[in-house]
């Protein structure tokens, strides 16, 4: 589905939601909650705030569905504008400033970079900036990498996804994961290694496991 088809479909789903369809609300949640959560997290580095922003954004969408005008912009941009305002409100209430982020990372799906920049400027809280001297890692499209990881997580077996998320999200050790899940430690280790292997494979050669034992180090500066 291209951007235009998605916009048309979004508008139709919003109309169904405005008619009272919770199924339509769930569809829109599935489409946009992850990107909204990620954007809020990038601004705040606070998962709790990001969760609240997601809830408030979808509540606002439900309450104000009739005010969404597909001719004025995409649903993604509309939702991200709501989410960003909610995020800024939360940060202001807490006396904090947004975390410095790249403009590219604040873009909504299918949103033109110029539109992203204008939206951020209009919000009065633009914080995006390019690194003046990006290193090899920074030169990589981080958002694209994150999307690839998210996609890989979505398709990997539940058991493997669980151990990875517990490890990286809740910062649990292998022993703690085994205890939490009631799995043998060896099982946790096996699943963890397999999951990490899957994720590294989607990240490309620079991050992936060596093809063999004769892999040589990549000289600094020659990374892509």
């Amino acid at each position: 589905m291209d951007a235009r088809e998605r916009a048309i479909d979004d508008a139709a789903v919003v109309r169904r939601m405005a008619a009272g369809s919770e199924a339509a609300l769930e569809v829109l949640y599935d489409r946009y909650a992850s990107s909204i959560f990620a954007a809020a997290y990038r601004l705040t580095s606070d998962r709790g705030i990001a969760e609240e922003v997601v809830q408030e954004t979808f509540l606002a969408m439900w309450n104000r569905a009739e005010t969404f005008d597909p001719a004025a912009g995409s649903l993604a941009a509309w939702l991200h504008a709501i989410a960003r305002n909610r995020t800024i409100d939360r940060l202001r209430a807490a006396g904090r400033r947004p975390t410095l982020v790249a403009v590219s990372s604040a873009a909504a799906p299918d949103e033109d970079p110029t539109a992203t920049l204008e939206r951020l400027v209009a919000s009065g809280s633009i914080v995006g900036a390019a690194n003046p001297s990006p290193g090899p890692e920074q030169a990589i499209d981080t958002a694209g990498m994150h999307d690839a990881i998210a996609a890989a997580l979505a398709t990997m077996p539940d058991t493997e996804r669980t151990v990875i998320l517990l490890a990286y999200q809740e910062e649990l050790s292998q022993v703690e994961i085994a205890d939490r899940l009631g799995w043998p430690l060896g099982t946790v280790k096996t699943r963890t290694r397999r999951a990490l292997q899957r994720l590294r494979e989607v990240l490309g050669a620079e991050f992936g496991p060596g093809a063999g034992l004769d892999v040589v180090p990549v000289p600094a500066g020659e990374d892509r």
Binding site: D30, F37, Y41, E51, W62, H146, L196, L199, D214
Partner: protein, 294 residues
Amino acid sequence: MDHDAVREQLELAAVEPGGLERLMAGDTATAQAVAAHLAGCPSCSAELARLGRAAALVREAVREVPPSDLKARTLAAVRAEGVLRPLVATVPGGPAEAPVPTAPVPTAPHDATRPPAATVVPVGPRRLSRAQIAGWVGTIAAAVVLSIVTTSYVVGSRVDDQLAAQGETIAALEEVTTATLAVTAEPDAERVALDGVSDPSLDGSLVFSPTTAELVVVASGLTEPPAGQEYRCWVEVDGQRQRVGRMFFSDDLAYWVGPVPAVAGLTGPATFGVSLVEAAVPATATDPVLLGEL
């Protein structure tokens, strides 16, 4: 230690909090063996570098994945706080709404091994809107009408019994309606959605006022308990569970109405639950079937 053993150690360390740093510190026999191997093995050293970069990237990306229970909490918040819209195909047994295609999204196993997230966490101000009050009363009124209509269509000779049952139903619903209107008239009235703990077909709502301590709870999906048992309502504040009362049943509606001293002046977190218990046993420690956060 050979290549495979070293790489296994590296991979496992990469998903431990600070694992690679600890491994490189070399303060265990295993870490020293790994360090000794790395010192003479360019390919494993390169693997360590790639693994370190990958682990950092995955950690960063995973932190941006919303928890798995956020969807349920968001939908519950919309139900509890959102404007009322004509519900489409949410009535059990009703005509199914045409499915809306969607794609799966990755979510974290926030509660992978914990008890199900049975409580609702509404967001924003919980003051009841006029629409919500109207919706609450409307739901009850609809139940009254449905009860009367249903009963009226029963053909048989036991007219007196039917009328008696109908009268009881109307009286019960009138009690719920009257109490609900009284509670929602209070400026600090709050509404809380209740979710089934292990049975998603169970749900309910309650309204209460910390000022008057009056509370009204209604639930759907519950059936009358077996003889000798009851659905007991309780409130848990600061870890102390206090008995509130037992659910009454009228047709498909389960309800309880009355004062709850535990919610008087309530400002902190509290939990409301309904548990199936032996009627003769005063304890309330049984696992709940319905839960909600006050």
